[in-house]
Amino acid sequence: MKFFIGIIVTLIIVLGIVISKSSLASKLISQKNQQVYVKAIYSMPVSYDPIKMNDGASLIFSELVYEGLLRFTEDYGVQAGLAELWSASDDGTILTFKINPKAIFHNGDAVTANDVKVSLTRNVSQESVVYKYYDVINGAKDYHAGKAVAVDGLKVVDSNTIEIHLEKAFPPLLYVLAGATAKILPAKLVAKKDFFKKPIGTGPFAVQRISENKIYLTRFAVYHSKLPQISGMELVMMDQKDAMEEATLGKIHDLSSWPMNGQEAVFKSGKDISSIVADTWVIGLNARLKPFDNLEVRKLFQQSFDTQKFRDTFYPDAKVAFGYVPPSFPGHRTTKLETVSKIEKPPRELITINIPAELDKSSEMAQFITDQFNAKGWNVKVVMTKWDKMMAEYSAKTLQSFLVAMIVDYPDPEFLLNNFESTNPDNFSGLNDPGVDSLIVQSRSTQDRIKRQSIQLELAERIDGLALSINLFHSRAHYWVSKCVEGFRPNLLAVAYTDYRNVYFDMDCLRRGAK
């Protein structure tokens, strides 16, 4: 009897080992066979240079191909990027970063502190559109103004250690260093003329090829941190309608860069990953151009638009926006700001509002907006513009009015509100208000968190009172991914920060789909 029991126990153990080994083996095989992940994007990146990025497609590219000293976690925190260790001096004015010795560029060169110095120096150069985020670094202002040949505050300690010296303690700089513009590029190559035609980074995916409407990326096999599971990615530019059709046919795996409301037909055949997101959809007004140079006209324009009807029609589960700052950030408004214009009759000048042509319902939106304003006596024309063209004109500040989603790139509202600083190159509204400028400076120089937040509240109120945007809504994201996609976790800050290292295919699901 004991003999038979012994035999049965041994058999059970052997069977267990075989099953676990075969499941591990099949998992490994399944990972090895992971196919290329196809993600639709609404436009090609406006720039491949991190210091010139301020549109969604560019930021998505940046997060995949480049890497900074730090990275964002999925819920507003920071984690190790190229830096494996970082610390601050007691007074908070010196940040020290130890670079991970395993970190290498896609061409095989090791990442050094000099690469960091050169890359961050580019961030404060005159060609940088994000200079304002970094101007707290010692010597950044002089370098930007052409008064110095180097940035004093960037000090190479040894090949793997860099110190960043600040004018004053400014903890939110860590967010900037985790963001999509603080990426480290190879010092000896970045100045070359054609570098950004096939850029080299240190991120989890390397550029294989860039064509007119596609970006081919491959998994960087010797990436220093968590290796992506998918073998590669294709970023394919198309409009939302085509993207949804292709997704239904299984040719696209990811529509997460599109602003969707979860009610689109495509969701019947895929996953709806719904999440809060820190954004405000606005119709921005350019105060440099007539008639929006007049505050009273802006107020009347604001009052003439039924934002609730717009929201209910196009994004029914979005939240009402009473102000510019999204929910759960200091400065967010929870009640309507009562602004009454001193004028009653709209001017007769033609007002052109640009909206992105790639949106699924752009025609309906255009009609809605035109009807709303013209019924109130305005002379409004809505133009559907290709996103890259719209962004180029946005950057040139030539758009009179435009529909965009303003995203909080960093988990601190100062970086959203400083869009209104008169000296910010990204100041879309053209506002030149000494009160706003002064509050931004105060916010930056105040270390007490609560005091700083009360300044930001005052700043947000002042900006809302200046009627520089019609705040349409705060969206709730509905990210569509194929039903065979696993590991897609939204980032609470912005979709651009989605960590594609965690994403993989359920191979059984793909096989079933193919049959």
Partner: protein
């Protein structure tokens, strides 16, 4: 023919043992169950009280962060304290919306469907 109703003579000790056999098993079982229930309840009450005290002690800070609408900081704070505490913490608004969660940040912004039951003696709600 033998007598089937033959009487068996038992010693008194054995007779008592036979009569009490069911109690020999039952009584220790009941006592063990009662003790287990008592210990379980005590441990639960201890945990519940400890968690309640803990939540009460962090509530003012969370309230300040809520007042300033600083979700990133609430989220960071919850992550830090729940990692130390070994318990998941969520902050729920009066309208039952999940404002922050150390359990699963994907739940943030969704309605809290807790189906809470009140425990009057402990001044607690559980689900």
């Amino acid at each position: 023919m033998s007598n089937v109703h033959e009487k068996v003579v038992l010693p008194f000790k054995k007779y008592i043992q036979k009569q009490m056999a069911s109690y020999q098993i039952g009584v220790p079982l009941i006592i063990a169950t009662l003790i287990a229930l008592l210990v379980g309840t005590t441990v639960f009450v201890q945990y519940a009280n400890s968690n309640k005290t803990f939540i009460e002690s962090i509530a003012p800070h969370v309230a300040t962060l809520l007042e300033t609408q600083d979700r990133p900081e609430i989220q960071r704070f919850l992550q830090a304290v729940s990692a130390k505490r070994g318990a998941a913490i969520e902050v729920i608004s009066k309208t039952d919306e999940i404002i922050a969660s150390s359990f699963d940040f994907g739940r943030i912004g969704n309605p809290f469907e807790g189906n809470l039951k009140e425990l009057p003696l402990l001044d607690l709600k559980i689900n």
